[in-house]
């Protein structure tokens, strides 16, 4: 089932933003509103395309759909190979949606070098979509790296006071990880019979790689992804980057870039190195658990609300990793869904913090307090988003966390119990944030504080609607995710890793 539309949908999806970026680059520099409008139109078009992909995707068909393959570096057996399955599909839609919202949210926040900014956002979108759709190791690597640079530039140019520090830290962390990945990719390429094509590798590799080599390759890949996720203790770039990045940057960073790490585990680590899993899973699970509890506790101690949300990301991503490495369908499908959920709820939180920052020019929670009386619309959105993030039933967060924990409970009761305790802590720090921001006596002495305007409401509305859509009808997602996840959790792998599970 390749190209049922007779039209390279995925390639168009991936490269439309880049082409659009070229178009934006040709616009006159000082026509800010025109640039914004054109960029918005571009992201809207890409989002439309991704929705088309969503509905054209056939859940009942296993494997990759809409695959396209043409030789790229033919002499080396590297091809341009893209395809979409139930794991990447939700992430693609998430990416296009969040980019759209990010562009819309930076309408007023970005006033300098608007053109460069929009061009970078569009290029970033191409990179991110490419990561999720690439089926060739080197293609994946190219997109992986190319998504890194625009992000670092966005942080470094439009960020807060310590933006340069944050951007460099972000860049170095990720680069250090991805260099390892490149080396591992080359080794895989050589051992896999001079091919970097993922489906082909999955065919040829089993039984070929000696165990020790598998272990090293796994470590290399896992480190690259662990930096991106980020797993404890490789997470310290995240708060720095999040705090300093402009709002849209934080949204994309938390919403999409972190998912690239988790996606990498699903796409590469698990299928390529099944023999290593029994040894690696406990380590990764424990790191994920530490992330959950540690991230939550550290979030509790933050004064800067963006920092708090950043550490909450560490905790939430811990759930996702835990779910992935429970290696059973509920947990893994829950993890994939939770990636979307986290993108929405944490993205939403960052957007809301951005709303506040644009008005008050502070992120310190001690400067807030009692705001709900002044900005009721903001307050309602904030509470709703915080509760979604805390996993309130009826919203998306609950479904993801529940399935992850239930699946984890199947394989390891202790992990599940500790992670469940993380939910208690999540309630603690999120409600503390709500308490200190919205509740209590009004701390503001300045008289001017306007509620969210129509544009900001439009930005938040799709997110909130998705909270409930996913919360009430998660099967819309699960029916697409399930087949892909079930292919990854073949009983053989699981029983080797966890022993016989009844």
């Amino acid at each position: 089932m390749s190209q049922p539309l007779g039209f390279p949908l995925l390639s168009v999806l991936i490269f439309l933003p880049a082409l659009w970026a070229v178009g934006v680059a040709l616009l006159p520099r000082e026509r800010h509103d025109l640039i914004r409008a054109v960029a918005l139109l571009g992201t809207l078009a890409v989002f439309g395309l991704s929705l088309w992909l969503w509905f054209a995707f056939r859940p009942e068909v296993p494997g990759f759909q809409f695959a396209e393959q043409t030789p790229w570096v033919a002499g080396l057996g590297i091809s341009y190979h893209v395809g979409v399955d139930g794991i990447s599909l939700p992430l693609v839609v998430l990416t296009t949606l969040l980019t759209l919202l990010a562009v819309l949210s930076s309408w007023k926040a970005i006033q300098e070098e608007v053109k460069t900014y929009m061009v970078l956002m569009l290029l970033l979108e191409t990179g991110m979509l490419g990561v999720f759709l690439a089926l060739d190791l080197f293609l994946f690597y190219v997109f992986w790296e190319s998504s890194l640079i625009p992000m670092a530039l966005v942080i470094g140019r439009w960020g807060g006071e310590r933006r340069i520090y944050a951007a460099i830290k972000f860049l170095l962390f990720t680069l250090a990880g991805s260099v390892l990945m490149l080396v591992a990719a080359i080794v895989l390429y050589l051992w896999g019979g001079n091919t970097s094509d993922l489906p082909q590798l999955l065919h040829t590799l089993p039984g070929r790689l000696p165990f020790a080599l598998q272990a090293w390759l796994f470590i290399a890949f896992a480190l690259a992804f662990a930096v991106k996720v980020p797993l404890f203790p490789l997470h310290t770039w995240l708060p720095a980057a999040h705090v300093e990045a402009p709002t849209a940057g934080s949204v994309i960073l938390a919403g999409v870039l972190l998912k690239m790490g988790a996606y990498g585990y699903l796409r590469f680590c698990i299928p390529l190195f099944p023999d290593v899993l029994p040894y690696a899973v406990p380590w990764l699970s424990i790191l994920a658990l530490i992330g959950i509890l540690y991230g939550a506790l550290v979030a509790l101690a933050q004064e800067d609300i963006k920092s708090l949300v950043a550490y909450s990301s560490v905790a939430h991503m811990g759930f996702i990793i835990l779910g992935i490495f429970a290696l059973n369908p509920p947990a893994m499908a829950g993890a994939v869904l939770q990636m979307v959920n986290h993108g929405l709820s944490t993205g939403g939180l960052f957007l809301l913090v951005g709303v506040l920052y644009e008005r008050l020019h502070t992120r310190q929670m001690r400067d807030f307090g009692g705001l709900w009386a002044r900005v009721p619309i903001f307050g309602s959105f904030f509470i709703l988003t915080a509760l979604s993030s805390a996993g309130l039933p009826g919203t998306n967060g609950f479904v993801g966390e529940f399935t992850i924990l239930l699946g984890t409970f199947q394989v390891n009761t202790t992990y599940a119990a500790l992670a469940t305790f993380g939910i208690v802590l999540a309630a603690w720090y999120l409600l503390t944030a709500v308490r200190r921001t919205l509740f209590g006596p009004l701390a503001l002495t300045d008289g001017r504080l306007s509620d969210m305007n129509a544009r900001e409401v439009v930005v938040m509305l799709p997110i909130v609607l998705l909270f409930f859509l996913i919360g009430l009808f998660p099967n819309l997602f699960f029916e697409r995710i399930n087949p892909a996840v079930e292919a990854l959790t073949s009983p053989a792998v699981v029983s080797v890793t966890y022993g016989e599970v009844e």
Partner: protein
């Protein structure tokens, strides 16, 4: 009608959407009509459904309505299915009935709020009713958990409704010897809501694990399927499941050791205290245990734990209520105490008795709270009973209804509370006389503190004249629910008259298909004489408590003050709520925050980030150190080249 049972939930949800999104533009009248109307309609639909169900033969009185497949992942399949059986419809009626009256009352009580807050309040209340109805109509544990968490969230939002308020200090008590006993301040609404949610989450932690364990044991979360498979499950697993589920109930129903959140929850508006923190939400734990009775019957150890926790909590809360001066807090501790009773009931296997007490408690406790709210309304939110007195004359209807509620709570003979409490005591006696003594002691204290509050607030002379002058009876929309509830509190006993009277016990009969309790009486039955004796004893205890309160607070007002001096340590201990809050604050909250600070500052910033930034700095410094070799002196470069070339030559030769 049963096919449309989903409307019972959908209607309040519609109310939420309407009031929440558009309410502030629609005007008070509209908001009130929608907010109250949807709950009333839900009650009507529930009643209709109940008649439909009653028309069916007993064995078929379980109706399930699958709505849609909610979560389907791998072998996990959770359909969104509603279940209407005798138990859930009973609860639907209690929730929507009492809820309807409280909604009505709120129209008057919240009148002084601005339009936005007014609409928001009704949106929250409707959301709560919808969540609570979902909780009781759930057909599987996950859906039950969903409702369970949602009511917690509503509770959080409603407790913190007046989010801008600060902590309120309580005036210290001056004893006869001139010394003062400081009372802990009343926590502000925002923090109270947060506390309630988090403490509940701790309970839910256990509940969630229980749900996971159920699924991994039985492979399903559906009630019937679980109960059918339960007898084959190992006893230890069942004990674990039931204890974990009970942990959730302990949180939700404010039992020891998680009882600390409910008194603080009184920071919310009074209708909220009446609806959520007295009549309905807090009883969810009792409902859950009753719903899972099959599991608890198979795990007698857990059932015993339930009964013991209930009994101890009942006594603990009643003791604290003795010395409280905040009217709502007295009622809050009384709620905890009565919930303890209910757990004793379900713990000893008297599920119908527990549900019966749940129902009568919903009536009279809602009544008491609403009456207290009426007092607050009249006194401009003054809640300290030491500033009241003589209110009887100013607000007779409120006083009368409060009296009815107090009589029911105290277990005055022939009121609803008398019959339901007696039923529990009887079952407790059958189970173990020790438990019965515990219950009886609690009953004595209950009668005493209830009438202490009544006498201090309504009888005697005013203590605060300016305040007294301002007091007035509440408007009709508030007193009407009071009267209705007072009738229910008086006559609710008719629903479950004791077997010894030879009349049918409607509650037990109606719930029998669910609890499968036919013939249980015969098995454990006590002689009629014993039962009469027990009835007499509990009536005597109630009367004794009331009389004692009258003696202390009407005829010899100096006695309590003297007692406080004589038993000063005990007084201080109880006035400080047994220091449970302080204990948690010191052991959990503060050390948790300190740990968080330590991790954030010490580990995260200093250690981890320090190592990483340190590595970076080391590299930078290394680079800087290396640049000194590039000093611009050509001979140095030449030397370097020469040595390098030489090393290469040596390498090539030696190799």
């Amino acid at each position: 009608m049963l096919d449309s049972i989903w409307l019972v939930i959908a209607l309040p949800v519609a109310g939420v959407l309407l009031n929440g999104l558009l309410g502030r533009h629609l005007g008070r009248a509209f908001v009130s009509v929608v907010g109250v109307g949807v709950v009333g309609a839900a009650f009507a639909l529930g009643a209709w459904a109940m008649t439909d169900l009653a028309a069916l033969p007993e064995a078929q009185r379980t109706f399930t309505l699958p709505l849609w497949d909610w979560i389907t992942v791998g072998n996990l399949q959770v359909p969104l299915t509603l279940r209407a059986d005798a138990l859930s419809l009973w609860m639907v009626l209690v929730v929507s009935g009492v809820g309807f009256l409280i909604h009505l009352y709120s129209v008057g009580y919240m009148q002084h709020e601005d339009a936005r807050m007014f609409a928001r309040f009704f949106a929250y209340l409707n959301l709560f009713v919808a969540s609570m109805l979902l909780l009781v109509l759930a057909d599987n544990y996950l859906l039950l958990y969903v409702g369970w968490e949602l009511v917690g969230a509503c509770s959080y939002l409603l407790i913190g409704f007046w989010f801008h308020k600060r902590d309120e200090a309580q005036a210290p008590v001056t004893l006869m010897d001139g010394t003062q006993v400081t009372l802990p301040p009343n926590l502000n609404p925002a923090d109270s809501g947060k506390k309630a949610f988090i403490v509940n989450r701790i309970g839910d932690f256990g509940f969630a694990l229980g749900v996971f364990l159920i699924w991994s044991t039985f492979g399903t979360l559906n009630f019937d399927a679980v109960f059918a498979a339960a007898p084959q499950a190992p006893a230890t697993v069942l004990s674990a499941i039931t204890l974990l589920l009970f942990m959730g109930a302990v949180g939700k129903s404010a039992q020891l050791p998680l009882a600390v959140w409910l008194p603080d929850a009184m920071a919310g508006p009074t209708p909220v205290s009446a609806l959520i923190h007295a009549a309905t939400m807090v009883t969810a734990g009792v409902y859950m245990v009753a719903r899972s009775h099959v599991l608890y019957e198979l795990a007698p150890g857990s059932a015993l734990v339930v009964a013991l926790v209930g009994g101890v909590t009942a006594l603990y809360a009643a003791a604290i209520a003795l010395v409280q001066v905040d009217l709502k807090r007295i009622l809050a501790y009384s709620t905890i105490s009565q919930l303890g009773y209910m757990f004793v009931a379900v713990g000893v296997g008297a599920y119908a008795a527990g549900l019966f007490h749940l129902t009568t408690h919903a009536f009279f406790k809602a009544l008491l709270f609403l009456a207290a709210g009426s007092v607050m309304h009249a006194l401009h939110d003054v809640i300290d009973i030491r500033r009241m007195g003589g209110l009887w004359r100013k607000m007779p209807l409120t006083g009368l209804t409060f009296l009815v509620g107090a009589l029911a709570l105290a277990g005055f003979p022939l009121t609803s509370g008398f019959f339901s409490k007696d039923e529990i005591l009887l079952k407790a006696f059958q189970f173990s006389p020790g438990l019965w003594v515990l219950g009886l002691a609690t009953a004595l204290l209950t009668a005493f503190y209830t009438f202490r509050a009544l006498f201090v607030a309504f009888a005697g002379q005013p203590r605060d004249w300016p305040l007294y002058e301002k007091a007035h009876e509440s408007p009709g929309i508030m007193t009407l629910p009071l009267v209705v509830l007072a009738m229910a509190a008086l006559l609710g006993g008719l629903l479950g008259l004791p077997a010894v009277l030879g009349v049918p016990n409607w509650t037990a009969d109606w719930l029998a298909p669910v609890f499968d309790t036919h013939g249980l009486e015969a098995k454990h039955g006590v002689s009629a004489a014993t039962e009469w004796l027990l009835l007499g004893v509990s009536a005597a205890v109630a009367l004794a408590g009331i009389a004692l309160a009258y003696w202390f607070y009407v005829s010899r007002v100096d006695i309590p003050a003297r007692l406080a001096v004589a038993l000063r340590p005990a007084f201080v201990f109880l006035a400080n709520k047994c220091y449970l809050d302080d204990l948690y604050d010191a052991v959990l909250v503060r050390s948790g925050r300190q740990l968080a600070q330590l991790l954030a500052q010490g580990l995260d910033k200093a250690a981890i980030d320090g190592i990483i930034d340190g590595t970076a700095r080391l590299l930078a410094r290394g680079g800087a150190w290396l640049t000194q070799f590039e000093d611009g002196h050509i001979p140095h470069y030449a030397l370097g080249m020469f040595v390098g070339a030489l090393l290469l030559v040596v390498y090539l030769v030696v190799r």
